[in-house]
């Protein structure tokens, strides 16, 4: 239903003429301003717990949007976000922690030299983390993009495991299984949602450019794309690195949100969560990813109900811990079987859509 409507309303001569572009620009600006005011109100009005949740939702949006770029838009079924988040989180934390804090944490083996004395401000650390993670993506890309489909999935999953094993063993860099503690709580609503804006901007612009078309062409038919002169390897690599960059930065912000990281935080579970988001939103739809990231984050909170004791018609049903994940798994399987294309399919919510909808409303009056 939503899909058909979106498709119909989005149809029309493309790309939009100059005037529409300008209108969209102003509408976007207004939306950002409204969002900023909204965030400000929420930040001051809500408890610390909910502010934390809003930050988490923001990070999930970043992660889902960038994950969708490689999985949904480019059609390369990667399972590596947990690897990239781990990389970003560790790099950022190692760069921002104070030398004193570091020497306190690294009890088994001291931290290697340059890292042991460095302490950078957050923005710089995040930038470096993003670049290092993109570099990791670059290195991974060589073996990963020699294979396709499910093999690609398994290899990227394998990289996630390798990163975790390395984090557990490279004592003098990662502090091993103990992880890093005492990371300053620096991630605010502004950081999380600011990064959202940046990620959404870059990813949307990329998708709408000629490069985005090439990525979609690769998804549709690799052979035809290559025959039409597109270097598929480097384009996959491009999508992978952009995705890695944002996931690395988001990982860094996550570290500064929860203040303690250890290798066991970055299991496949994180990737699974993101997978649900992009599947529910519709593989290939950026706005779908945004919507689903918010839905899943807060839906997860709401689902805590099923884990709490419940009294129904006088019966006491004990709370079942862990039931949420069972429900989430069923949601994923259910979507695959009954609604494979997710909520939005490959369509996007656009200003054009909104204005067209508004136009209809006023016509009907």
């Amino acid at each position: 239903m939503i899909r058909a409507l979106l498709r119909r309303l989005n149809a029309g001569p493309l790309p939009p003429p100059q005037a529409t572009r300008r209108r969209d620009f102003w509408l976007s600006l207004v939306a950002v301003a409204v969002m900023a005011v909204g965030l400000r109100l929420l930040e001051t009005g809500l408890s610390a717990y909910w502010v934390q949740m809003i930050c988490l939702a923001g990070l999930n949006v970043v992660l889902a949007v960038s994950y969708n770029l490689i999985n949904g838009v480019t059609g390369q079924f990667s399972l590596s976000p947990n690897a990239f988040m781990a990389c970003g989180a560790y790099v950022t934390a190692l760069l921002t922690l104070s030398p004193a804090e570091k020497s306190l944490s690294f009890i088994l083996e001291p931290l290697v030299w340059p890292l042991s004395v460095i302490s950078l401000p957050l923005p710089m650390a995040l930038m470096i983390a993003g670049l290092v993670t993109a570099l990791l993506g670059f290195v991974m890309g060589f073996p990963v993009f020699r294979v396709r489909d499910d093999y690609l999935a398994i290899v990227t999953l394998g990289f996630g495991e390798v990163i975790r094993v390395v984090a557990n063993n490279a004592q003098s860099v990662t502090n091993g299984p103990l992880g890093l503690k005492g990371i300053t709580h620096l991630t605010t609503v502004w950081w999380a949602w600011g990064l959202c804006l940046a990620a959404a901007f870059v990813v949307t612009r990329l998708i709408r450019s000629s490069y985005g078309l090439a990525l979609k062409a690769i998804r549709e038919d690799e052979v035809a794309a290559e025959t039409m002169g597109i270097d598929i390897f480097w384009h996959k690599m491009l999508a992978f690195m952009v995705s890695a960059f944002f996931q690395g930065v988001a990982g860094g912000l996550l570290a500064h949100l929860i203040t303690t990281i250890s290798p066991n935080l970055f299991t496949f579970f994180l990737t699974f969560n993101l997978l649900i988001m992009i599947v529910v939103g519709g593989l290939g739809s950026t706005t779908g990813a945004v919507l689903a990231a918010v839905l899943v984050t807060f839906g997860g909170e709401w689902l805590r109900v099923v884990e709490e004791p419940l009294s129904l018609f006088g019966y006491e049903i004990p709370g079942i811990a862990g039931m949420r994940m069972v429900v989430f798994s069923l949601i994923l399987v259910g979507f695959m079987i009954f609604m494979r294309r997710g909520l939005l399919g490959r369509n996007e919510f656009t200003w054009r859509w909104l204005t067209a909808l508004a136009g209809r409303r006023s016509e009907n009056k």
């Binding site: 489909d149 495991e161 390798v162 094993v165 862990g322 798994s329 994923l332 695959m336 079987i337």
Partner: protein, 291 residues
């Protein structure tokens, strides 16, 4: 002497990987689907056996057989409920579903059995310690490769000498033609899931006896590694899965034995091997070149 000791350890571990890998390889051969839930099916098999032995006091071989039968049914149920509706869907949809089923089983396991590991008793017969010369060998380590060899022999007999087996092999060549020939492909696929799951249960139960404990997440690592073993051997090839399992088991044991300082990286070895194989020999040890 030490080398012989390591060889036996590697053989035992490799046999376990092999038992689990066979299910992966058979399902992949026919459906081109990585059954992510395979490792978790193994976990369920272990809990079933644990209930039979620890709660009801049944002899080990009864609980093994019972668990294998029930796990086979679970495998078919998963196929029926989750994979069959997606037979004609893009491969990635089936893969996502498999990941979903895997998480479902893991978390349901956590909800029902709790996260705390349970001790898994090692039956007397597998718990003897032989001293041969300087070797110290647990009887389990002798039995596991033998039982694995026996199971493989039976499986090869089924695959090459029975109608069902021939249908399976034909199906892994060409699903569409076989369907046109009037064979009920759904039943053959169900039988494949049943056999694969039963073998995974067997592998899992011996695994549990080896370590000797079980937990709801125990299937993840053996499952992933067994898949890697299946790829190393040449996916779709049962004997290949066996070889791949042995190769991986030996490689892990030898890594730890020869380079103890790298022991912590043992769990990464499988993936390093996987990547190396995909680059240099994507068809695996015994596989034919495809795609």
């Amino acid at each position: 002497m030490d080398a012989l000791q390591q060889l036996i350890n590697g053989l035992t571990l490799g046999s376990l990987y092999a038992l689990i890998a066979i299910g992966y390889t058979m399902v992949y051969g026919i459906l081109r689907l990585i059954n992510f839930a395979h490792g978790d099916v193994l976990m369920v098999g272990c809990y079933l056996a644990w209930f039979a032995s620890a709660q009801f006091g049944l002899p080990w071989w009864v609980s093994l057989a019972g668990s294998m039968a029930l796990t086979a049914a679970l495998g078919m149920l998963i196929d029926l409920g989750a994979y069959r509706p997606l037979r004609s869907a893009p491969r990635i949809s089936a893969l996502i579903t498999a990941i979903g089923v895997s998480f479902f089983l893991e978390n349901l396991g956590l909800v029902i059995f709790g996260g705390r590991p349970k001790a898994f008793a090692r039956p007397e017969i597998f718990n003897e310690l032989y001293h041969w010369g300087g070797l110290r060998v647990l009887s389990l380590s002798v039995w596991v490769p033998l039982i694995t060899a026996l199971i493989l022999a039976v499986l090869l007999y089924v695959l090459y000498r029975t109608r069902l087996g021939m249908a399976m092999r034909a199906l892994s060549r060409d699903l569409v033609t076989v369907r046109l020939m009037g064979i009920d492909t759904d039943r053959v696929v169900a039988a494949t899931f049943a056999i694969g799951s039963a073998l995974a249960a067997a592998g899992g139960i011996f695994w549990a006896m080896k370590y000797p404990q079980i937990n709801p997440l125990m299937g993840i690592m053996p499952g992933l590694k067994a898949f890697v073993a299946a790829v190393l051997g040449g996916i779709g090839n049962v004997v290949g899965a066996m070889l791949g399992g042995l190769l991986l088991g030996l490689a892990e044991i030898l890594l730890v034995a020869w380079m103890p300082e790298l022991a912590g990286y043992r769990d990464a070895l499988a993936f390093v091997l996987l990547i190396a194989f995909l680059i240099f020999r994507p068809q695996g040890l015994l596989g034919e070149k495809t795609t």
